[in-house]
C-alpha cells in the first residue's frame, strides 16, 4: 500500500497545478512531507507490532536470547484465555474502568453544568480544577501513597476527622477491601477535569435560542434539561468516555506507583500484569500473545463504540 504512495499522489495531483509552480511539484512535496512521519511510525510502531505477533507464536524468553527458539503456534493464546489469573486481572480492570468512568462523568458533568452558570471568576477556578490532569501520574501517584498513610497521611486524617473515626484504624492501600477504591479515588481526582472540560465545550455549543423557544413553549427547566441539555451534550460526553476508556484500559503509571498491583493482585490491572509477565518473569512469547489480545480488545471495543458515537451524532 505504502510503496505505491508516490505513484498515487502523482495520479491525483492535477498536472496543470504542478506545472504552474516553479521548484518542487506538489506531489513531491506531499511525499517528502508525509514520508518521514509514516516511516517513523512504521519503524517504531508497526514493525514492533508485527514482531510482537511473531514472538507470540514462540516460547522466546528475552533474558535467555541464546536458547533455541521453538514455535508453539497458538498455544500461548490458548493458555492465556484459559488462565484464571488473567481473567481476574480483566475483572479488576473492568471494575476500575466502570467506576472511574461513572464517577468522572457524574462529577465532571455536574461541575461543567455549574461552571456554565458563568459566575464571577469561573475562568480562574476552572484553570485551578484542571491542574491535576496535566501532571505526571507517576510522581503524583507516588505522593498519594504518602497521603494514604494511616495517621500521618492527610487523606486518612481528613476522612477520619469527618467520619469521627481513628485515622490509624484504616489503611487504604494495604487493605483488600479499600485498595481498589484507593486507585479509583486518585484517578477520579486526576481525570474528572478532563470530562468536565469536554462537557463544558458541549454545554457552550448549545445555542441559547433553543432554550428561549422551549421557555416560550412553557417547558419546565427540568424538561429542558432532559430534552435539550442532555441530548445535545451526549456526543461530547460519549467522546470523553471513549478517551477515558482507552486511557484507563492502558493505565499503568499511576497505579503501579500507588499500589503496584497489590495487596496480592487485588489492584493488578492488565498493564501491570503484562509488565510482570514480560519484564519480571521474562515469558516474552507468552506476554507478546497477551499484548496482542489486549490490543485487539481495545481496538475492537473502541471501533464498536465509535460506531455508536456516530449514530448519536447523526440524531
Amino acid at each position: 500500500m505504502l510503496n505505491s504512495l508516490p505513484e498515487r499522489v502523482a495520479k491525483v495531483t492535477p498536472l496543470a497545478a504542478a506545472r504552474r509552480i516553479r521548484g518542487l511539484s506538489d506531489r513531491t512535496i506531499a511525499w517528502i512531507f508525509v514520508g518521514p512521519t509514516i516511516f517513523l511510525l512504521l519503524a517504531i510502531n508497526i514493525f514492533p507490532l508485527l514482531w510482537t505477533i511473531r514472538l507470540s507464536l514462540t516460547n522466546y524468553r528475552a533474558n535467555q536470547p541464546n536458547r533455541p527458539l521453538q514455535w508453539v503456534g497458538l498455544d500461548n493464546y490458548r493458555r492465556i484465555l484459559n488462565d484464571p489469573d488473567i481473567w481476574n486481572t480483566m475483572q479488576v480492570t473492568a471494575h476500575f474502568l466502570i467506576w472511574t468512568i461513572v464517577l468522572q462523568v457524574l462529577i465532571g458533568f455536574t461541575l461543567a453544568w455549574l461552571i456554565n452558570r458563568k459566575f464571577k471568576g469561573s475562568d480562574l477556578w476552572t484553570t485551578i480544577i484542571v491542574l491535576p490532569m496535566m501532571l505526571s501520574p507517576a510522581v503524583v501517584g507516588n505522593f498519594w501513597t504518602f497521603f494514604y498513610q494511616p495517621q500521618i497521611g492527610i487523606f486518612n486524617y481528613v476522612v477520619a476527622f469527618f467520619a469521627g473515626a481513628d485515622p490509624s484504624s484504616f489503611t487504604m492501600i494495604g487493605s483488600v477491601d479499600l485498595a481498589p477504591w484507593s486507585i479509583v479515588i486518585v484517578d477520579t481526582w486526576m481525570w474528572t477535569p478532563f470530562v468536565m472540560l469536554i462537557c463544558l465545550a458541549g454545554l457552550r455549543s448549545i445555542p441559547s435560542y433553543i432554550y428561549e423557544a422551549a421557555a416560550i413553549d412553557r417547558a419546565s427547566s427540568w424538561r429542558q434539561f432532559w430534552t435539550i441539555t442532555i441530548p445535545m451534550v451526549m456526543p461530547f460526553l460519549m467522546l470523553a468516555v471513549l478517551f477515558r476508556g482507552i486511557e484507563n484500559f492502558k493505565m499503568f503509571d499511576l497505579v503501579v506507583q500507588l499500589t503496584g498491583g497489590g495487596p496480592g493482585s487485588i489492584t493488578e490491572l492488565t498493564s501491570i500484569n503484562l509488565k510482570r509477565e514480560a519484564f519480571e518473569k521474562w515469558r516474552t512469547g507468552y506476554a507478546s500473545a497477551y499484548a496482542i489480545i489486549l490490543f485487539v480488545t481495545v481496538f475492537g471495543l473502541a471501533s464498536i463504540y465509535v460506531k455508536a458515537l456516530n449514530k448519536v451524532k447523526e440524531r
Binding site: A30, L40, L41, L49, R117, I129, M134, F299
Partner: protein, 313 residues
C-alpha cells in the same frame, strides 16, 4: 421575576454554582499545595501526627534532594572546620555530612534533553505531515490519518516488549537518542492531528495568492503558512513537551542509568534511614511546577490538545 430571562442564570443561581465549584477547586488543589508545603518541611514535621498545616519553613528537603549524606557522630562534627556554605550548615544541623551530589540534577537534565529533543522532532515532522494532509490530495488520506491515531491506542507495555529487544539489538537501550526517537513516535500522532486542525483553519487563499505572486509551494509554506500557524505550533509543542515530560512506562522499562528521566527517579528517592518525604516533595515540586505554569498559559487551547483536536472551542 421582573427581569425574567431564561438564558441568563439568576444571580442567586450563580452564587450557588460558584460556591460549589470553588469548594471543589479548593479540595482538588489541596494535594498539590500539600506536596509543595511538604518540600519546605523538616523531616519530623513532614510525618508528624496530626499533620502539620503551620510549620517553620526549612530548605532541608531541597538540600537533601541534591545531595547524598552520611551520618556523623557528634565528636566528629565538632572536630570539623566550620561549614563553608549554608547548605552544609543545614545538613550538619541534622547530624550529617554531605557525601556528594545526588543523581537528581542528571535525571532532571535527562528529562529536559529528551523532552525538548522529542518535542522538536515531533513538531517538525508533524508540521510537515499536517500541512500535506491539510492541503494536498493524498490517496487513502483518512485511512492514513486513522492509522496515525490508532498507534496511540496500544498499551505502552505491549509495544515495549519488541522495542526493548529492538533497542538492545541496535544499541539504543538507555540512550538519549533512543528515548528521543521513541517519544517522537509516541507524540507524532498528537502533533499531526492537532496541527492539521490548526492549519485547516488558515484560509487557502493566502497561499494561493502567494503562489500566483511567483512563490514556490515551499516558499508559500514557510513564508505564509508557518507564521500563520505559529500559535498552533507553539501550543502543540507544549502538549508534546508535557506528554514526554510525564511519560513513565517506557522510561522505567527502557532506561536504567544514563538516560533515566525524572519520573522513574523521583519515587526512588530515599534518605538516610527511610523515605525522605521532604526531599521527594522538593523533587516533585521542581518537576511539576513547570507543567503547572504551562497549563495556565495554555488554558485556551487545553481542550483541543487533550482531545487530539476532536473538540475545538
Amino acid at each position: 421575576m421582573s427581569s425574567y430571562s431564561i438564558t441568563a442564570p439568576s444571580s442567586r443561581q450563580k452564587w450557588i454554582a460558584g460556591t460549589f465549584v470553588i469548594l471543589y477547586a479548593l479540595i482538588t488543589i489541596t494535594p498539590l499545595v500539600w506536596i509543595i508545603a511538604t518540600g519546605f518541611k523538616s523531616g519530623p514535621d513532614s510525618i508528624s501526627y496530626p499533620p502539620k498545616v503551620l510549620f517553620q519553613p526549612r530548605l532541608e528537603g531541597y538540600v537533601n534532594l541534591f545531595t547524598t549524606r552520611t551520618r556523623a557522630n557528634a565528636e566528629d562534627l565538632a572536630a570539623m572546620p566550620p561549614p563553608e556554605t549554608w547548605y552544609e550548615q543545614v545538613v550538619r544541623d541534622n547530624g550529617m555530612v554531605i557525601a556528594g551530589p545526588s543523581r537528581f540534577g542528571e535525571r532532571f537534565l535527562n528529562s529536559v534533553i529528551i523532552g525538548f529533543g522529542s518535542t522538536f522532532l515531533s513538531v517538525f515532522l508533524g508540521t510537515l505531515a499536517a500541512y500535506a494532509f491539510s492541503r494536498f490530495k493524498i490517496p487513502l488520506k483518512d485511512d492514513l490519518l486513522f492509522f496515525i491515531l490508532s498507534t496511540r491506542m496500544m498499551p505502552p507495555i505491549a509495544v515495549a516488549i519488541p522495542i526493548f529487544l529492538m533497542f538492545r539489538t541496535l544499541g539504543l537501550s538507555d540512550t538519549h537518542l533512543g528515548m528521543i526517537l521513541l517519544y517522537t513516535a509516541v507524540n507524532i500522532s498528537l502533533a499531526v492531528w492537532l496541527l492539521k486542525g490548526f492549519i485547516d483553519e488558515i484560509p487557502r487563499e493566502y497561499e494561493e495568492a502567494a503562489l500566483i505572486d511567483g512563490y514556490t509551494r515551499f516558499q508559500a509554506f514557510y513564508k505564509v503558512v508557518l507564521p500563520q500557524a505559529a500559535t498552533g505550533i507553539a501550543s502543540t509543542a507544549i502538549f508534546c513537551l508535557i506528554f514526554a515530560w510525564n511519560e513513565y512506562a517506557f522510561a522505567v522499562l527502557l532506561t536504567s542509568g544514563t538516560a533515566q528521566t525524572a519520573p522513574p527517579f523521583i519515587p526512588t528517592i530515599i534518605g538516610v534511614g527511610g523515605k525522605d518525604w521532604p526531599a521527594v516533595a522538593a523533587g516533585a515540586t521542581l518537576f511539576l511546577l513547570p507543567v503547572m505554569v504551562f497549563t495556565i498559559l495554555l488554558r485556551k487551547h487545553l481542550l483541543r490538545g487533550i482531545t487530539f483536536g476532536a473538540v475545538r472551542k
